[in-house]
């Protein structure tokens, strides 16, 4: 009796997540076009990156303009370890994530003591250094030529490189990350992050070790980004430094901002925005995307009410406002 009730309560509580998960996992059954499937594959990894950034920026309020650097570490880590050292792709992915975490910790501990714009510049500088190293350390990374011949993912004997199989794996991992992030957000730790993003002094007075929590979430975001990078590497079978520039970091930020900083679900909208918008804009003009993103960043900040809020409530307000105008116009 109790178990069944508990099950139904669980379903209702997590309805949103379950619906999203089911939709995400079953899409390949309805989509056959290779182009759209590859778009979905990219969406999965962008979503992982956006989730990490949403935790860091949206929950904890820390500005990182260098997430692409960690994506790069993940991608190149996987690439080098699988092609040069013959590691199993999954092990390489884990090791690359460990490396990203280490770099994030080393960088984060001093960087997160800095205020807003200094942290932004520091993360920008780290991203640039990572990019430069990827280009310069030719013997390791092959420089601008990139690394080819990266193996696809597999589960023992089961190859996972077919588009539909890859979709399930990538989205499976992405959904796990989403679930973990949602759990974190509605926990004592999530509350602590939101508290310290609003007032570090107050948070400290309530027992929160602000430095520790900031570094922790910074490392988490780096791990998410790294795993996403590894997935990309195994999907495209090729990595080159060009994908891991500050420009891409800024695009990730744009996604999270568009989706709304207040809730993790904003990462969903944001990811869709940064994947779909460029596709649409490409039909108009091949290079319009970044311009539009830049304008959006400015515009959203101007109309922002000064505190993180999700796209949902904002849309609600708009709807009511517009509905009101229409009704008044009609009468």
């Amino acid at each position: 009796m109790g178990a069944v009730n508990q099950f139904y309560r669980y379903l209702r509580k997590h309805a949103g997540f379950l619906i999203f998960a089911i939709v995400a996992m079953t899409i390949p059954a309805y989509v056959g076009d290779a182009y759209y499937l590859s778009l979905l594959a990219f969406t999965a990894t962008r979503f992982m990156m956006a989730l990490g950034l949403s935790l860091l920026l949206g929950q904890a309020g820390q500005i990182s303009l260098g997430q692409a650097g960690f994506v790069g570490i993940g991608a190149y880590g996987s690439a080098i370890m699988t092609t040069r050292l013959g590691f199993d792709p999954w092990i390489a992915m884990v090791l690359a994530a460990v490396l990203s975490a280490a770099v994030a910790a080393v960088v984060g501990i001093p960087a997160l003591r800095l205020r807003g714009y200094y942290l932004a510049m520091a993360t920008l500088g780290v991203n640039e250094i990572i990019y430069l190293l990827l280009v310069r350390l030719k013997s390791l990374t092959n420089g601008t030529d990139g690394i080819t011949g990266i193996p696809g993912l597999s589960f023992g004997a089961l190859g996972l490189s077919g588009p539909k199989a890859y979709h399930l794996v990538a989205w499976g991992v992405a959904l796990v990350m989403l679930r973990l992030s949602l759990n974190l957000s509605s926990s004592r730790v999530g509350r602590a992050l939101r508290a310290l993003s609003r007032s570090e002094a107050a948070a400290q007075s309530l027992g929160i070790n602000v430095s520790y929590r900031k570094v922790q979430v910074f490392v988490m975001a780096a791990i998410f980004a790294s795993i996403a990078g590894s997935f990309d590497a195994h999907y495209m079978r090729f990595v080159s430094p060009e994908a891991y520039t500050v420009t891409f970091s800024i695009i990730l930020i744009t996604g999270v901002i568009i989706g709304g900083l207040g809730s993790l679900w904003g990462a969903v909208w944001g990811t869709l925005a940064i994947v779909i918008l460029p596709e649409l804009l490409k039909r108009v003009h091949s290079d319009l995307t970044n311009l539009v993103f830049g304008v959006l960043l400015i515009a959203i900040m101007i109309f922002w009410q000064g505190r993180p809020r999700a796209l949902g409530p904002a849309l609600e307000k708009w709807r009511k406002m517009i509905g009101g105008r229409i009704r008044r116009g009609a009468s």
Partner: protein, 292 residues
């Protein structure tokens, strides 16, 4: 390394150092007036160079193209201030950083759309017959760059210390509310500061283009190095910014000489991170930048 080679690197260093100094000065001006870090500062330098090339290509004489570029970028900076900075002055650091980052994106992409991806150059101001100084060859443009930069810095210092307008700007930097209460039109002064910062940035961009060509992407590196220089010297201190610029330029050039040319840019970032992590207030720092 011979002393002639050392001198060569030194000259190379103070050349790029001049541009870093001007960029850093731009950062400092804006920061002092608004407490905002302008992430689009480097793009203003880039726009100066690109516009100079465009105007020169359209038929204007070199000096006309330079002045034109300076004027246009100053106007762009003013527009940028109105649109992306003014509305956000009360909205907190997060919004300001993101908005200026967005602006840097806009400038960079606009430049790419208008002028393409290729790097472009300008002819040197007074020919390219190299001079011989102490065994090192110095391009005449270097003399122009360093000379003009120093002249700009000195002129700015005099402006801030002696003219009424300059003093008003300094008053705003120290205490905007008190300044307002004294009847100083804060809004208009901020606009003026942005125009000034745009002009300085553009001047730097135009000057350096004959030496190291300019492309739509040059801005981000320049901006970062300018910020590194400003932080090194102490954000908020104009003297520190200039000093930081030249120190960075020389250290970078020596790094090329002693270590390797490929890692030249890493040096600037390494310095930036070093300063931020050990002494964020820089050498001559005035504002508490680091801790809460």
């Amino acid at each position: 390394m011979s002393s002639a080679e050392l001198l060569q690197y030194f000259f190379s260093g103070i050349t790029s150092g001049s541009i870093y100094a001007l960029t850093a000065l731009g950062f400092t001006l804006v920061f002092n007036a608004t407490s905002v870090i302008n992430f689009a500062q480097g793009q203003l330098v880039m726009l100066g160079g690109m516009l100079g090339v465009a105007l020169y290509g359209a038929g204007l004489p070199l000096w006309g193209a330079s002045l034109g570029a300076v004027a246009v970028v100053a106007a762009v900076a003013v527009g940028f201030e109105r649109v992306a900075v003014r509305p956000l002055l009360q909205k907190g650091v997060l919004a300001q950083v993101i908005a200026t980052v967005g602006a840097s994106f806009v400038f960079e992409t606009a430049a790419m759309l208008i002028w393409g991806r290729d790097a472009v150059g300008l002819p040197p101001f007074s020919g390219d017959e190299p001079l011989l100084v102490g065994g090192a060859t110095v391009a005449p443009q270097t003399v122009w760059v360093v000379g003009l930069s120093v002249a700009i810095v000195v002129a700015l210092q005099m402006f801030f210390r002696t003219t009424l307008l300059g003093k008003a700007v300094r008053a705003c930097a120290v205490d905007p509310i008190a300044a307002r209460l004294q009847g100083i039109p804060y809004g208009r002064l901020v606009t003026f500061v942005f125009a000034l910062t745009g002009a300085i940035a553009a001047a730097g961009g135009v000057m350096i283009t004959p030496i190291s060509f300019m492309s739509y992407h040059s801005g981000s590196l320049l901006g970062l190095k300018g910020f590194a220089a400003a932080t090194l010297g102490g954000l908020g201190s104009p003297v520190g910014a200039v000093m930081g610029g030249y120190v960075l330029g020389v250290v970078e050039a020596l790094g090329v000489g002693f270590v390797s040319a490929g890692y030249k840019d890493v040096i600037a970032f390494a310095i930036l991170l070093l300063v931020l992590f050990s002494r964020p207030s820089g050498i001559l720092g005035t504002r508490a930048a680091g801790h809460h």
